[in-house]
């Protein structure tokens, strides 16, 4: 049925805040991290855009795309400072390599500092998913949307990183992101019923790539 009339919709301030936090312009330095893609592309483990799509699918199902939302959800639901610190300690201990620890710790610290500076909430320095989960809870933002947008920005950032490292056109990059949207939605739903006993990972070669990146001859990225 087409009525032709525009229905006025109130803008959800929570949605705007999440969009701000998870946009590439939020100063957490996301552009500096390739999550091992620079090595995987450099060693020809990823050559085509199909390879890139497969690799990102693996990261979502078995890598940080699977484990970060579990940490985010746990931080969001933590009831006191002690519980939050336990989650933070586990997040750091779970980092598979030096650069992956830096990736989550430095982005997290920048996120927490910026978010503290522009709000009434004091957010301590935490790893990225833990800090985001905690900040979202303090701001009363919906958990499902926070996880969903976090995963989307994670993949979006890696597509952008790949576009600087290999031949993936602008449209092709967006096509990959579109193809992965249902998987992102699925993983978001699964994460909502998770707890820290589910924290695990099996992207062994992606983890190894971030280790090898430490000694890569020519590098643009910090991971």
């Amino acid at each position: 049925m087409v009525t032709g009339a525009l229905i006025p919709m109130p803008t959800d301030p929570g949605l705007t805040r999440l969009q701000q936090w998870l946009s590439p312009s939020y100063p957490i330095g996301a552009f500096a991290y390739s999550h091992g893609l620079e090595t995987a592309i450099g060693t020809c483990a990823i050559i085509s855009s199909d390879d890139l799509r497969m690799w990102l699918t693996d990261l979502l199902k078995n890598g940080a795309g699977y484990s970060d939302p579990i940490l985010l959800v746990a931080a969001y639901r933590s009831e006191n400072a002690e519980a939050l610190q336990d989650i933070e300690q586990q997040a750091r201990a779970f980092a598979p390599s030096k650069e992956r620890l830096a990736e989550t710790a430095l982005q997290g610290a920048a996120f927490c500092q910026t978010t503290s500076a522009i709000s009434d909430h004091d957010i301590p320095d935490l790893t990225y998913p833990v800090g985001l989960g905690y900040a979202a809870r303090r701001h009363g933002l919906p958990l499902d949307l926070t996880v969903h947008m976090y995963l989307h920005s994670f993949v979006s950032n890696l597509v952008a990183a790949a576009q600087r490292l290999m031949r993936v056109g602008q449209v092709e990059g967006q096509r990959i992101l579109t193809d992965l949207a249902p998987l992102i939605a699925q993983i978001t739903q699964d994460a909502l019923t998770s707890d820290l006993t589910d924290l695990s990972g099996s992207c062994f070669l992606a983890d190894i790539a971030t280790m090898q990146h430490e000694t890569q001859y020519s590098r643009m990225f910090r991971s």
Binding site: N62, R92, A95, D190, A191, G201, I208
Partner: protein, 293 residues
């Protein structure tokens, strides 16, 4: 969260156990299960590492080969492998300046499990001030339809040294076995002074061979080793290990006292070939003799 894996592998999420209606005590006890436990404490006395306490029961035994230095304990699973419902627990502690090494007599085989039953292995390690513990079992071989859960926790004093290496083989490769339906859960939790230092968990459920064929997972590798070395001077081994690793491995000094290494290989033979020089280095050429046989 199992649901992701189940969906991915196309497995029905309903109960896979086929329960029979015969519910008598005799049918419950029909399958014998192996239960084994050891507890070993090593100390430093009279200028050498020696046994302070030993307790063993059931299907797990320890042998202590004579060695020039250090205390070496070889675990023997008298049940000859692990199947669903088996329970093994190991507790080892090194105090004083004791250097203790724990290994296995041979590769551990994890056999097909009865539906709904899981074999378990629980390992607890404690390493005191000035002590060193090497946890280095030989390969664990997962058979198709196995169901196995491992949990290793380690508590370290401030300057304690711990080496953990766990080689894993996915299926009997020589006979072309694929892990089309198996379950493997693994967790390693290491704390120093009560603070979490390292945490790793792996869950492989369903068609494990298909998952391992994925490019960012293992790209078809059938053998893997996870190695953690934590010591105040762990960093001095970094360059050696980097040079010793093939393209399918990586090593990282995550913290000043924490070195981690992950290695993939097409089979256990290739894995061992890469691993032996690394273990020689990290044990100061003190690799247990049974590793050489």
């Amino acid at each position: 969260m199992c649901s992701i894996f189940c969906r991915e592998q196309g497995i029905e999420e309903t109960d896979i156990t086929i329960r029979q209606d015969i519910n008598t005590a005799t049918s419950e006890a029909a399958q014998p299960r192996a239960i084994g436990a050891v507890r070993v404490v090593g100390r430093f006395k009279g200028g050498k590492s020696c046994l302070a306490n030993l307790r063993q029961s059931g299907a797990l035994k320890l042998l202590f080969p004579r060695r020039a230095s250090g205390l070496e304990a070889v675990m023997i699973n008298t049940a000859g492998g692990i199947t669903g419902g088996d329970r093994f627990s190991i507790s080892a502690e090194a105090v004083g300046n004791c250097h203790m090494t724990l290994t296995t007599q041979a590769a551990e085989r994890v056999y097909r499990a009865q539906p709904g039953q899981t074999g378990g292995m629980d390992t607890r390690l404690r390493v005191g001030t000035g002590a060193r513990l090497n946890w280095m079992p030989q390969e664990t071989i997962l058979y198709n339809h196995c169901s196995f859960q491992r949990h290793l926790t380690a508590n370290l004093a401030k300057d304690a040294t711990l080496l953990v290496v766990e080689p894993l083989v996915f299926g009997r490769i020589a006979m072309g076995e694929v892990l089309s339906d198996a379950r493997f859960n693994d967790c390693i939790d290491i704390r120093r002074n009560g603070q979490r230092l390292y945490y790793d968990a792996v869950r492989l459920h369903g068609d494990i061979t298909a998952k391992l064929s994925r490019p960012a997972v293992a790209n078809g590798a059938n053998a893997m080793a996870n190695l953690i070395f934590t010591a105040p001077d762990a960093g001095r081994h970094l360059t050696f290990l980097r040079d010793a690793l093939p393209d399918t491995g990586g090593v990282s000094l995550i913290g000043d006292d924490l070195l981690v290494l992950r290695l993939l290989a097409k089979d256990s033979f290739v894995l061992r070939k890469s691993l032996l020089p690394i273990l020689d280095r990290l044990t100061d050429n003190g690799l247990p003799l049974c590793w050489r046989l």
